[in-house]
Amino acid sequence: MAIKTVGVAGSGTMGAGIAIVAARAGFDTIVFDTRRDALERARKQSEGFLAKSVERKKLTQDEVDAILSALKSTTTISDLSACDIVIEAVFEDLKVKHAVCAELDKVCPPHTIFASNTSTLSITEIAAGSGRDERFVGMHFCLPAQLMKLVEMSPGLRTSDEVFRTAWDFCKALGQIPVKTKDNPGFILNYFLVPFNNDAIRLVEAGVAAPADIDLAIKNGLGYPMGPLELLDLVGLDTHLLVAEALYASTHEPRAAVPALVKRMIAAGHLGRKTGQGFYTYRGNAMFGA
């Protein structure tokens, strides 16, 4: 089965990034969202990103013009009826995803493959509410999708081999690098990253070392590009809480449980960079405490 037209449901940060990837790879791409303002914001962000790609000589202006003309948006879900694959990137909530997939199932032809960009929910569970669980795959892009090559691909328990193979080939045609993982909570990245970050928070809680010393040790001892606590400040403690709670709810593994310090920091408004205070203090572009 040849994929020509790609649908993206949800025009948040992930959806907008995935749409850029698809259009940049030459696919006709339609982004659906019920919120017109979200679609407009995504369009502006995409134009801004592509303009920078021209400045950095990654793309020519002609190529950008072609990408933007291939990139359509709509607030009408039935406009996705021409899609060979639809990637959903809506809110991380099983009921929300079921509702969107059920609507998509009504408007898309039987051959359309559904893919989910979920980072924490079970592919099999989302697929179960999609009306086409044999034509459903996990395709977890990394943030920011338009820059990161990796895609975690997971078959659900009822996904057909042919559908998974088609989605895998499509992923490669996007210019991405797929890795296959079982349909496990957190797949690979979040399964390892969330507990690691929780462990770093617990070291701060236990007074083993200051955040700056922990980050310095991890970067210099292991060569990681960022320390866990500066990464948490970047991601936001509120976002970390959501992801960690979802992972813990699925695994009940002690290391996935959110340390008490996280909730205290959130209550105090210490969410990280976005509030100017997290494990470090931020003023403008300057970071204090490192």
Binding site: C142, T181, K182, A206, G221
Partner: protein
């Protein structure tokens, strides 16, 4: 700051020539003791209380094994340190400096000045087994080995995902194979005994590697 180095042999932190050793003097305001017998050297060190800092190399043990503890008020001019290295790989630029609750600020400042003056990077931590890096990275390594057993993904896909997704220089499976799974066993066993936390219990693959190494 002038410092003296006492080498008791077989240092894991400084197994080869290094600027830190080359800059040492016959006597100094600080003393660095490296090698396997730092405990004995510390006990026989004359006038150690008059030094700004006495820095002793640690293995897996805590600093308190050499200095003692008392009601949370322990601490002096004696600090511990170790250069981080995985198994038999070369030591990294990271030096974990270990302090106790009442360690002197002057000793900590001296340790930073001396190590950073030799091109190393210093992270200061409390006196807990595993310090910072081993304490954080060993449960992650264990989880990777366990998930490999459970076929979450192939070893290559696990490594690729963590390299490309998080920017790690090397995936966990490849890193452990390169630096010695049996060494990972030794470190995790020590941490498991210290904390009783199942996250540190040696992974099956590490135990097999250790048994095979012992058999050879």
């Amino acid at each position: 700051m002038l410092y003296q180095v006492i080498d008791t042999g077989n240092s894991r932190s400084f197994p080869a020539a290094h600027a830190l050793l080359e800059k040492a003097e016959a006597v100094g305001d600080a003393v660095i003791i490296i090698g396997e017998k730092v405990g004995q050297a510390l006990q026989t060190l004359a006038s150690r209380e008059h030094k700004t800092a006495v820095l002793i190399e640690l293995g897996a043990e805590s600093l308190a094994l050499h200095t003692g503890e008392s009601r949370g008020n322990e601490g002096s001019n004696v600090l511990g340190f170790a250069r981080f290295r995985l198994g038999e790989s070369d030591p990294t630029a990271l030096v974990e400096v270990v302090r106790q609750p009442r360690s002197t600020d002057a000793a900590v400042a001296a340790a930073k000045e001396i190590f950073e003056g030799a091109g190393l990077r210093v992270a200061v931590c409390g006196d807990f087994e595993g310090r910072i890096v081993d304490r954080l990275v060993r449960p992650y390594f264990n989880a990777a080995l366990k998930r490999l057993d459970e076929s979450l993904a192939t070893a290559d896909d696990l490594d690729t995902t963590l390299r490309l997704g998080l920017g790690y220089p090397e995936g966990p499976i490849s890193l452990l194979e390169r630096t010695g799974l049996e060494h990972h066993y030794d470190v995790t066993l020590a941490l498991f005994e210290a904390y009783g936390d199942p996250a540190y219990a040696p992974a099956r693959r590490a135990r097999v590697a250790k048994l095979r190494a012992n058999k050879a």
